[in-house]
Amino acid sequence: MKRYARLIAVVACALFAFVFMGAEKAGKAAKPKGEPIRAKIGVISIITGAGASYGEAITNGFKLALGEVNAKGDVHIDLKIEDSTGKAEQALSAAQKLINSEQVVAILGPTLSTEMKVVGPEANASGVPIMGTSNTAQGITQIGKFVFRNSMPETQAIPASIGKAVKKYNLKKVALLYGNDDVFTKSGFDTMKEVSEKLKLKILTIEEFQKGQADYKAQLTKIASLKPDAVFCSALYNEGGVILAQARKMGLKVPFVGGNGFNSPKVIEIAKGAAEGLIVATPWFGDRNDPKVKAFVAKYEKAYGKKPDQFAAQAYDAFHIMANALKAAGTADRAKLRDALAATKDFQGVLGKFSFDAERDVVMAPNVLIVKGGKFTIFN
């Protein structure tokens, strides 16, 4: 038995070597013969648990782009999707699995900034390029030179939306409301507070809530009693939609300015008429008059039966950016892929014209939108 085991091990080793040689050859020989560059890319997303709706949109975006990229034939990507359940420790073990046993060339995800703060350093230390498609907190790409993101940080989006709202409605006094148990919503709040102070707005009160809370009436009643000109609310759309519904119901009709997480058709789906007057700044605008955007929306709707949200669009673009970089790198090598990614400039995606800055962060112009007549429209 023992001898057999050894024999099998030897054969396995030999096979392994062969496979690897093959991969190396295929990679090198790719260009002249037109053979695709084969690469395994890991995805860490929330498949189950409280944030599963985000993970669903994100993985749908990846899969849609995967089909296009593989059909084109320059590169052939194999996706390995892992579930983080929205927990940092789970995301970390998923990353370790992808890096060490799956030997992926790069990682897309994880979904939450909270998770990226833990996973980013691990990938960076292992020299694996990692690109967040939905992390918008501060200090993400500063983790290290292998960490990228294509999701616009709140620090870029929020000043745009608040600036426009203040001008249009002549806002003087505002109330702030945010989720205090998430890096994403907390950092959005920090930016809102900073911008409000810079614009010399009077902050009447700062209220907090927790993810998954059912009842926001206590906070909203307090805010309503102070009679603000507007409410700046840093929340993800799931909580945000409910907050809007409950606020409008109790008679708080002032404009709401939301963070990036508020930008999803789901806000309107959840809050219905209560979403009217919500202002967001966002890289993604699904009704933009752009053939690329229209084609993406139609394709996504056909495949998944619903309109793509920001998370799906960002994932879709991120995958194409990754595939382009892989093609530019010419081989499935982690370090070469990193350099190719960092060189990405003026990529024309469904979000618009996209480049990485020197710190591998987003360079892009946001759209400021308002909900009117049951859909997002450009806010002027």
């Binding site: 907090e208 927790q210 059912a214 009436k217 206590a218 906070q219 009643t221 307090k222 409910v242 809050a271």
Partner: protein, 294 residues
């Protein structure tokens, strides 16, 4: 603002109380904590939602539908997860706790598959009816929730203390074997208890949907944990304890936000519970030694 916050607190507290009543009923008879109660409650909410918004049926039908489905789930829970473990030699108290946790995980994921992730708007014309009392807007739903929770509490207390079935139930709770020897069909009593508790969960689910405007497949968990804290706080197995505990938790959570800091909402509410338990370890309405319960 005080009156509005008072109404918010009472509404929240009444909902907590109804959830806690379901826990306390099962605990009082079976001495087990039914961890699946929160998820059954969540299913009640979804059935109500489907009946009202998808089928467009009137509200009473939603309650009826939720009660029928959750009662059936209670029946299945008892048959499949509780009865096989009951009276088995060597089966510990914890066995049924674990089996109900299993059921709760199953139900949560089943709801994810059936209804999808994320929040669903719970829209009924009934939830929009409001009237003004002085400067304060009161929604009819809020009154109904308080009314239903008081009705359920009163009805349960009366049923347990006065009716024949209630007496049999208490006998079963006191001692399963003796009650069986004296001619009480203990299996039927236990099944009835679990079914009634589950049906109450269904009612609570629909009420939550109306009060908060939305539901998702995670509300069972968050509401369930609150319900659990309340029965410990109010006194295990006590009907009045569940009611009082629910109201106190709901009011304290609301007023912490209103006059304190919203970031400490849960912290202060639970610190208050711990303090009360330090003074009265058996809970507000609990009786000191476990054997002498009721």
């Amino acid at each position: 603002m005080f009156l509005e916050q008072l109404i918010n607190g009472v509404t929240l507290g009444s909902i907590y109380a109804i959830v806690a009543l379901g826990y306390t009923l099962v605990f009082g008879v079976l001495d087990i904590i039914n961890m699946a109660h929160g998820e059954i409650f969540m299913f009640g909410a979804f059935v109500g939602l489907l009946v009202v918004s998808k089928a467009g049926a009137p509200l009473p039908v939603a309650f009826l539908g939720a009660v029928v489905v959750t009662a059936a789930m209670g029946l299945l829970l008892e048959r499949l997860a509780l009865r096989p473990l009951r009276g088995r030699p060597g089966a510990s108290h914890l066995a049924s706790l674990i089996s109900t946790i299993g059921v709760s995980i199953l139900l949560e994921n089943l709801a994810h598959k059936l209804f999808g992730a994320g929040n669903h708007l719970f829209e009924t014309p009934f939830a929009e009816i409001s009237f003004k009392v002085g400067p304060v807007t009161v929604y009819l739903v809020q009154v109904v929730i308080l009314f239903i929770s008081l009705l359920l509490m009163g009805g349960l207390a009366l049923w347990l203390s006065r009716s024949r079935a209630g007496k049999a139930l208490r006998a079963t709770a006191e001692n399963l074997e003796t009650a069986g020897l004296l001619g009480v069909d203990t299996n039927r009593m236990i099944t009835a208890t679990v079914v009634i508790a589950s049906a109450m969960g269904g009612v609570a689910g629909v009420l939550v949907g109306m009060a908060f405007n939305y539901i998702n497949n995670q509300i069972g968990l968050s509401m369930g944990l609150k319900g659990l804290a309340i029965i410990i706080f109010g006194g295990m197995g006590s009907v009045y304890g569940a009611m009082a505990g629910g109201l106190i938790l709901g009011l304290s959570e609301t007023f912490v936000v209103a006059y304190g800091s919203s970031g400490y909402r849960d912290a202060i509410a639970f610190v208050a519970i711990i303090l009360i338990l330090l003074v009265r370890p058996q809970g507000l309405f609990g009786q000191a030694p476990a054997e002498a319960r009721r």
